[in-house]
Amino acid sequence: MVAIEYYVILSAILFTLGIVGVLIRRNAIVIFMSIELMLNSANLAFIAFARQYNELNGQVFVFFVMTVAAAEVAVGLALMVTIFRTKHSIDVDQLSSLKG
């Protein structure tokens, strides 16, 4: 059987990729997708640890995280649609009406 550490390292790789995605992409939707990748990687870590400790707690946490992700997606995409209606762009570099 594959050691748990390998799964957790995979989750760390995905987590880091998510962070890098948030930092380098300019399209707000892709930034949000990178954040979803981060959350998903944490889920993978939870499941792996749950397996290691042979307890279902980790899996239940993933349940909650999925719910939170769904809630965030609803609000986030609503915000993006609204901004697009006003500014016809979701490029975060172009959202600079707030520089003072």
Binding site: M1, V2, A3, I4, E5, Y6, Y7, I9, L10, A12, L14, F15, T16, L17, I19, V20, G21, L23, I24, R25, N27, I29, F32, M33, S34, E36, L37, N40, N43, L44, I47, A48, A50, R51, Q52, N54, L56, N57, Q59, V60, V62, F63, F64, M66, T67, V68, A69, A70, A71, V73, A74, V75, L77, A78, L79, M80, V81, S89, I90, D93
Partner: protein, 174 residues
Amino acid sequence: MDANLIVFIILAVVAVGSALGMLLNKNAVYSALFLILNFATVAVLYIILGAPFIAMTQVTVYAGAIMVLFLFVIMLLGAEELAGATKIDWQKPAAVVLGVLLLAELIVVIFFRETVFAEFAELTDFGSPAQIGRVLFNEYLLPFEITAFLLLAAMIGAIVIARRVRQSPSKRES
């Protein structure tokens, strides 16, 4: 090299590859599709790790509902064409360097454990809906209720934001 390890490596490569594909692709639709692939791969990993119910939920909720919503919005906004180049170019390499550093640290941290590579207990009914339900409603009742309110708040919020009726500004002044 036993079969388990080979399967894991294949899945890991697909997962990381699809994540990279998501990050690097200019077209937002392709990014979303790569992310769906990533989620599906991770779902398979969940099954291997003894979480069949969560794997099904992952496919249904994450890949099925959330990503479909993403795709819908991407199509709606026509966001697959990206306008505007990045103005500041030093940020990209800096981000990648930071990412690599973080990753190195995490790998060291994770390997720094003195855990025994424990033999996994036999999986009997582990991760089944009944078991998860039992734990969820007995141990984690409070978080469950909190998520209920969270979803309600998010629903109200999303509807308020998205359903803007364009009315003349002076309509409400008395």
